[in-house]
């Protein structure tokens, strides 16, 4: 179910901003409106819906309106027109007190430059959201303490923010956002001020936390790699307009227009595509079949290996055509010629990490999920094909 439903949300900065609407309807560009009316179109009639529990990334270059858009959601910036429905309630229509309640209970925010209160200790920062709600001191302390442990800062409760490194400070920012247990977490370029290694750690941790928390996270970034890494869906913005909304794969493989295409063309695919993108369907037999069946299947399909699975499709091993032919002559069973130490990877391994496994394996690498079930195999050529940009059709759609 959609937790946030945004309808024709618009923000125009300047005097008498409604003047811009007829011009926008006429299709004037942001530049032309700025030139002729001195009005700045921040967000232009954005409509989107965000599902509960997803990480929704809003991506765009600076000036694309992404930070403005997210501030319209909690009305740190007042929308000029449009609706923001959260759980069906229009945020734009709320009076100040109702809006405060939404900000306190439903939605919290993590900031690019952390925005920690310098005069408060870590725990005092984290409990701020609860404090303004009037939660009793002991209760909010214990909640804040739990949240600090959750983000891995136990023991630093009484430190001052300026005593912490950037990564640690943003953990405090994250903890402050999580302490009042909101449904929605707005993260405005939350990791952009961190250096690349720390940023990657924070992304991983966010994904880990998200796996157990199941918040709805709206994540703003200008970094495509970051968007592709953590986003369940991505909205790409340009000049205040949402250009395309889709899963990372859709954005990469099927860019909506030339702008998106240019945006994604420099992506290092080896850091984005995973095993599941390049794997193909595996031919399998079960153990109770004889070597003759195995060989016949391989001949029919023109392949030199066949994978042996049990009834639950859990991988047992692999049989080569050579061994099968020999077994027919010597009367061995499939079980006797089975090669059990098959190279395997999980579906979410990045292509970059696949190189070693794939190049050193004599047979195609088996892709198995977390219950040991065979979901596909990877042939060497497919990895190269994907990296040269021919992902998708030619390699075979990943089974979903």
């Amino acid at each position: 179910m959609a937790i946030i439903e945004v309808k024709a949300l618009t923000k125009v900065f300047g005097n008498d901003p409604k003047r811009a609407f007829p011009l926008l309807d006429k299709g004037w560009s942001k530049e032309r409106i700025a030139r002729e009316t001195k009005l700045t179109v921040g967000v232009n009639r954005v409509s989107l819906s965000i599902e509960a529990g997803e990480i929704f990334v809003i991506m765009g270059l600076s000036g694309s309106g992404k930070s403005t858009l997210v501030r319209l959601f909690n009305r740190l910036i007042e929308p000029t027109a449009g609706q923001v429905l959260i759980n069906g309630q229009d945020i734009v229509q709320l009076n100040p007190e109702q809006l405060r309640q939404v900000r306190r209970k439903t939605m919290s925010m993590v900031f690019q430059k952390f925005a920690l209160f310098p005069h408060r200790t870590v725990i005092e920062n984290v409990e701020y959201g609860l404090e303004v709600q009037g939660v009793a001191k002991e209760e909010r302390r214990s909640k804040a303490k739990q949240t600090i442990e959750l983000v891995g800062l136990a023991g630093l409760e009484d430190s001052r923010p300026d005593q912490l490194s950037g990564g640690m400070q943003q953990r405090v920012g994250l903890a402050r956002g999580l302490a009042n247990d909101p449904q929605i977490l707005l993260m405005d370029e939350a990791f952009s001020a961190l250096d690349p290694l720390i940023r990657k750690d924070m992304q991983d941790e966010l994904l880990e936390l998200q796996a157990s928390m199941k918040k709805t996270i709206i994540f703003i970034t200008h970094d495509l790699d970051e968007a592709l890494r953590i986003g369940d869906r991505i909205a790409l913005m340009k000049d205040g307009v949402v250009v395309q909304i889709g899963t990372p794969e859709e954005i990469l493989t099927n860019p909506a227009n030339a702008y998106v295409e240019r945006f994604v063309e420099d992506v290092d695919l080896s850091k984005v595509l995973t095993a599941s993108h390049v794997m193909i369907r595996a031919e399998t037999i079960t153990l109770d079949r004889g070597p003759r069946v195995a060989l016949q299947l391989m001949r029919d399909r023109g392949i030199s290996n066949i994978y042996v699975v049990d009834k639950a499709r859990q991988l047992i091993g692999v049989v080569t055509a050579e061994d099968a032919a020999a077994a027919i002559k010597s009367g061995q069973t499939v079980e006797q010629i089975l090669i059990r130490d098959t190279p395997t990877v999980s579906p979410d391994v990045l292509l970059g990490e696949l190189f070693d496994v794939v190049s050193s394996a004599k047979i195609p690498v088996a892709v198995i999920d977390n219950r040991q079930r065979l979901v596909g195999i990877i042939i060497r050529g497919a990895v190269l094909a994907a990296l040269t940009g021919n992902s998708g059709e030619e390699v075979g759609e990943p089974p979903r």
Partner: protein, 278 residues
Amino acid sequence: MNIPKIPIGEWVEAIELWLETNAEPVFDAIKLLIGVTVNTLADAFNYLPPLLVIVIFTFIAFWIGRYRIAVFTLLGLLLVLNLGYWEHTMETLALVLTASFISIIIGVPLGILCAANDKARNVVTPILDFMQTMPAFVYLLPAVAFFSLGVVPGVVASVIFSVPPTIRLTNLGIRQVPADLVEAANAFGSTPMQKLYKVQLPIAVPTIMAGINQTIMLSLSMVVIASMIGAQGVGADVFKAVTQARTGVGFEAGLAVVVLAIILDRMTQNLVKKNKKG
């Protein structure tokens, strides 16, 4: 052609007269309040034996700052006592503290108002410019008209002269709170009051304290001027020395003002640093 002079002076006097006749109860109440405060403070300082007061001040200085300020306080006040200006210096201190206290009570809220509201700031700023550039002597006349001679008009004139820095720097301190912190306070659902007390004021404290420090210094500089309309204290000694052309006495009494100024300045400055260290 003969352009008639614009009668600004007459207007001001008319306003003064009107206030004198119509707002007398208000002025009487203010007069009573200020008079009682100053006299109580001065009496308290002079009731205790000077050495005890010196010890107390030295301890306060030590608690706020480092030993250097404490040593200066001890030696400086002993010098004042030795020169024979103790009683008058304490009267001056009472006047300065009262004027500064009133300035803070008026100035901080006004500064907050200016920070929160651009219109208020646009009205208040030119008034402050006016107050600070109009020669301080000019305040003495209406002050005397409303409050007659004595210490009260001195306090009032000091407040008018010394309140601007507190207002200005409170406004500045709050406006200088980084925008993302204000945004964070808003994003977590703070009421305007919560935002003010939990975020803006604590972060603005060093700047506000700098304003209060300036206010105290300015009100001290009014001490001599205030003595012209009958305010007691060491300022009166300076004034008398000037009128009688007695350089030595003037220097001694001036020295007492300097000692007081340095002690108050260092104490308020260190209060900021102490606050920062938390």
